[in-house]
């Protein structure tokens, strides 16, 4: 038998293209030099410079005569495409609690609600000319009062939308037991007020869309940098008045997503195909970096109030959480982020009694949609800061307080009694939190730390340690599918509909197929995110690709294998149960001479009238077939293919714990990471190299989010740091030299491979773990994240003055 590839550190197949500069990202599609007959037209967007204003007039007359400009569109032109193009963009995830959901128009109608909102769309020979034209459009505005930040939204002295009272888009409450009563009766009580600021995904590649309309076929081809090809396809079809069958969406290589590319359709994903059809030309929109800052999406901003009651051991008796979530100017992605915060806040713990209520608030800022972690980092921050506060209050070890609250390994499946983001019960499938805690304590040197701290203090140095635990619901439904096709060449073509943004799907999915089918890994070719190859799919988010598509691919390969064995058994005149497939060859166990390769099985799977090469002769009508039977049996179909779907009852829950040791400079308040440790449990690993890469990346993004990155809006709603010069993403110099990782593998009982998602985990505990470590080093409560050296310096200063 060959070694199973599941669990192996297999090198990535996609790297061969990427490393040669042969990746094909959306801006690499339809590249034709200007002046060539097939040259592509380029679009630019006029965006609102104001956070809140009424549009009185748009004058495009200066644009029309500019040489090289092909078209300019404003809101008034949209209805000429279809009536629905002039309707608001879809509200993707409706929810009964979202009583005041609002979405923007593809181009602003009468009013703008954030700096960056699209107002006009220009198509020209190149991007330079398109931007020239944009600068010639004149708009008259009547200024309205901008609402910026959660405090202003709650105060509601001004409204973002006139018809949304109090700026409240949604109020939602979930309860288990009676938390207020339990807290009132508890021997000990604490209250915490916490804040987290806005940040954003910031993939290195921004958004982009290319569209080509084929008038001969009445068919639209669209390439877009998305996390949901099928979502974009459905939205574009509706808006353009086309049947689904007339729209092909292809997601090429994507230069990072981290959540922001799951929202759809972006205005440009509709405007580009609209212009392509109207102009009969290929049209391309490639976002620039400033546009990405002001017109894609942000996340994280929340204000939290927590009340907790607990016993002498630190055991939770009641937890009552209220939080206010800034969702920006519109709610295309519904309430997913705050729902995740409110449910995943519980982490690995049993709260006994829990009440959570949130308000999701409008502000005149960029929309908020999921960013890696998607509300979990804020929930983890709320819960872990609470655990730290309880430990401090009782004078107990922070790890011990966590341990008394853990769900125990024999308590799974454990139903938290809440409804999760997928509308299903928040029921944890498996986990072993005490084992994880032991591992993380060992890995970071928890027990040895007090001695280290004392040693450092003797040298005048300040160090602190932090610990944070999380549970992550991964692999949410509704489903994913896969198609496996064994070609007559013996090559295996695999398609799944969700998309890829760097996770190495072409490698891990090929590992699964090679294992199940017994073909060689090199013969497997995986395509993702192409609606021509797999029209039924959901998308890549919520750490779901490995779980959902991985399981679907495994099942589809199994079906293909069943067919292989049936045909091969007939050809080899053997019993199916005596056959094995190794290295792409089916043979009878014990007699390797009696064999047939997968390519030949594929030839035999498709009864032919016509031969077109030597190989296909074997399948023609005078060569094979039982004259007494139909060439294709009633319950069969031609071709060597397998197709299947995976649709789990509910999510599978990965978990983990992070610990960090930081040093804070007594003079400058600079924060240095001395050690970062991760214990991670995502069930069985398909490719440990790739999982570790995901953790590294998540940790780095989390460090950015905890110590450097924030969206700096001023009171007028201008984003002051909308560039990589001012929005401080970490370089290698900000990331520790080495991240210690240990794995625990608690398999999921919910899917055939026992896997759980891993993509977001690295970023979830960051704000919590850094706040804890800095607080430990400084002895000052840390209640607002991210925290910069200047802010720490100010905190020290104000404490000295209040003392």
């Amino acid at each position: 038998m060959t070694t199973k590839l599941m669990g192996q550190k297999v090198q990535r197949v996609e790297d061969q293209r990427f490393l040669r500069g042969q990746g094909r990202y959306v801006d690499d599609v339809a590249v034709e030099p200007p002046g060539s007959p097939r040259s592509v037209l380029h679009a630019a967007v006029l965006r609102s410079p104001h956070a809140h204003a009424r549009i009185l007039d748009i004058d495009v007359s200066d644009v029309l005569d500019v040489e090289g400009v092909h078209a300019v569109y404003t809101y008034d032109d949209l209805a000429s495409c279809t009536p629905q193009m002039a309707e608001p963009l879809p509200l993707l995830i409706p929810h009964p609690a979202l009583t005041h959901g609002r979405t923007q128009y593809a181009l602003a109608k009468d009013e703008v609600n954030y700096v960056g909102e699209a107002i006009a769309f220009v198509v020209a020979d190149d991007r330079y000319l398109a931007e020239d034209a944009v600068s010639r459009i004149r708009v008259d505005y009547e200024f309205l009062t901008p609402v910026v930040g959660i405090d202003a939204a709650r105060a509601a002295t001004a409204l973002v939308h006139d018809d949304v009272p109090g700026n409240v888009g949604a109020r939602m409450e979930q309860t288990v037991g009676d938390a207020p009563a339990a807290i009132a009766k508890a021997p000990h009580r604490l209250e915490l007020d916490l804040t987290v600021e806005r940040s954003a995904c910031m993939p290195m590649e921004g958004r982009g869309t290319v569209a080509r309309w084929d008038p001969d076929l009445s068919r639209l081809q669209l390439w877009t940098s998305t996390q949901s090809s099928t979502g974009v396809r459905a939205a574009v079809a509706v808006k353009m008045g086309l049947d689904l069958g007339q729209v092909d969406v292809i997601t090429p290589d994507v230069g990072g997503g981290f959540g922001v590319k799951i929202n759809h359709p972006w205005p440009e994903e509709l405007l580009v195909p609209m212009a392509a059809r109207a102009l009969g030309r290929t049209v391309k929109f490639t976002e620039d970096r400033r546009e990405h800052f002001i017109s894609s999406a942000h996340e994280r901003g929340q204000v939290q109030h927590i009340e907790v009651g607990f016993d002498d051991d630190g055991r939770l008796l009641g937890l009552d959480v209220e939080f206010w979530h800034d969702h920006g100017a519109f709610t295309p992605y519904g309430l997913i982020v705050p729902i995740i915060t409110s449910t995943q806040l519980l982490g690995p713990y049993k709260p006994q009694n829990y009440r959570v209520v949130f308000e999701s608030l409008y502000t005149n800022t960029v929309i908020v949609t999921p960013y890696r972690g998607a509300g979990r980092p804020q929930g983890c921050y709320a819960m872990e800061r609470t655990m730290d506060a309880i430990a401090k209050y009782l004078g107990k070890d922070r790890a011990d307080v966590r341990a008394v609250n853990f769900i125990q390994p024999d308590e799974f499946p454990y139903d938290q009694g809440l409804i999760f983001q997928d509308g299903r019960e928040l029921e944890y499938d498996s986990g072993d939190y005490p084992a994880s805690l032991e591992k993380i304590k060992k890995l970071v040197g928890w027990e040895e730390f007090p001695a280290f701290k004392a040693e450092m203090a003797a040298q005048g140095r300040k160090v602190g340690i932090g610990l944070a635990c999380y549970v992550e619901g991964t692999g949410v439904g509704p489903y994913e599918g896969a198609h496996v096709h064994i070609e007559t060449s013996g090559r295996v073509k695999v398609a799944t509909g969700l998309t890829t943004q760097g996770q190495g799907h072409a490698t891990v999915f090929a590992q699964l197929v090679a294992d199940e089918l017994g073909c060689s890994f090199e013969d497997v070719e995986v395509v993702t995110g192409d609606t021509r190859r797999m029209p039924y799919a959901v998308g890549t988010f919520a750490s779901r690709a490995a779980v959902m598509s991985g399981s679907a691919i495994h099942l589809a390969a199994k079906r293909a294998k069943e067919k292989v064995l049936k045909i091969a058994a007939e050809a080899l005149e053997a019993d199916e149960s005596d056959l094995q497939i190794v290295g792409g060859v089916v043979s009878v166990k014990g007699s390797p001479g009696t064999s047939i390769d997968l390519g030949t099985v594929s030839v035999l799977s498709n009864p032919l009238r016509y031969a077109f090469d030597e190989k296909s002769k074997a399948a023609t009508q005078f060569s094979v077939g039982d004259p007494g039977k139909p060439p294709v049996a009633e319950d069969d179909e031609p071709g060597l293919e397998g197709k299947d779907f995976y649709s789990p009852e509910r999510a599978t829950f990965a978990s983990g714990m992070h610990a960090v040791i930081v040093e804070t400079d007594p003079e400058t308040a600079e924060i240095t990471i001395l050690k970062y440790a991760v214990v991670h449990d995502c069930g069985h690993l398909i490719n440990p190299m790739i999982v570790e890469g995901q953790i590294h990346g998540g940790v780095a993004q989390g460090i950015g989010g905890a110590l450097y990155e924030r969206m700096a809006y001023d009171d007028s709603g201008q984003l002051l740091n909308a560039s990589f010069m001012d929005f401080l993403m970490p370089y290698v110099t900000e990331i520790p030299d080495g991240i210690d990782i240990d794995h625990l593998e608690t398999p999921s009982p919910l899917n055939p491979l026992g896997i759980k998602g891993a993509g977001e985990a690295g970023v979830i505990p960051s704000a919590a773990v850094f706040a804890a470590a800095i607080e430990d080093a400084e002895g000052i409560p840390i209640t607002a994240m991210p925290i910069s050296p200047s802010e720490l310096f100010t905190l020290r200063h104000s404490r000295e003055h209040s003392a």
Binding site: G21, P33, Y128, M204, G255, D288
Partner: protein, 161 residues
């Protein structure tokens, strides 16, 4: 009024190209859209991220901060020019594959060119020097751990070549 065009001759990865470009056309756009060398990526258009880094007469240069016309007569190397003559991966590319130094691959070309020049000037970097070598490029996927490993592995591959 159409834009004035300027004749430009550049050598890219050993091949000479004659093109006509407006004075304001960025070198990154000329490489990508006029010459079709889309391996050079543009991440920020203001010289911070380093994704567009190419070698101009051997020196790592942000292609997004240079006008194409100012590359007149220059010898340019892009990521497409880093493979060996037989088409196999060059040492830095090979090291990235072995060390899992890339995920989405968008920033990768800029790292590859930067490290290629870095190792030419300092073929045996210390660990600290390996980290410094990539300290001017942003990557949002990898957390840099494996990129630093790849620098050291590339040095090893070159030393053994």
């Amino acid at each position: 009024m159409s834009e004035e065009l300027h004749d430009l001759r550049v050598t890219v990865n050993g091949a000479t190209h004659d093109i006509r470009v407006p004075a304001r056309r960025l070198l990154s756009d000329a490489l990508r859209h006029d010459l079709g060398l889309t391996g050079t990526h543009v991440g920020c258009e203001h010289g911070v991220c380093g994704a567009c880094t190419i070698l101009v007469d051997g020196a790592p240069t942000r292609a997004c901060l240079m006008f194409a016309v100012s590359a007149q007569g220059a010898e340019i190397t892009t990521v497409e020019g880093l493979t060996n003559a037989d088409g196999s991966l060059g040492p830095v590319q090979q090291a990235f594959a072995e060390c899992h130094g890339l995920q989405c691959g968008f920033c990768t070309p800029g790292f590859l060119t930067t490290i290629t020049a870095g190792l030419r000037d300092n073929p045996r970097p210390t660990h600290e020097e390996a980290r410094d070598m990539v300290a001017g490029n942003l990557c949002r996927c990898t957390g840099y751990q494996n990129i630093v490993k790849a620098v050291e592995r590339a040095a090893e591959i070159q030393a053994n070549a």
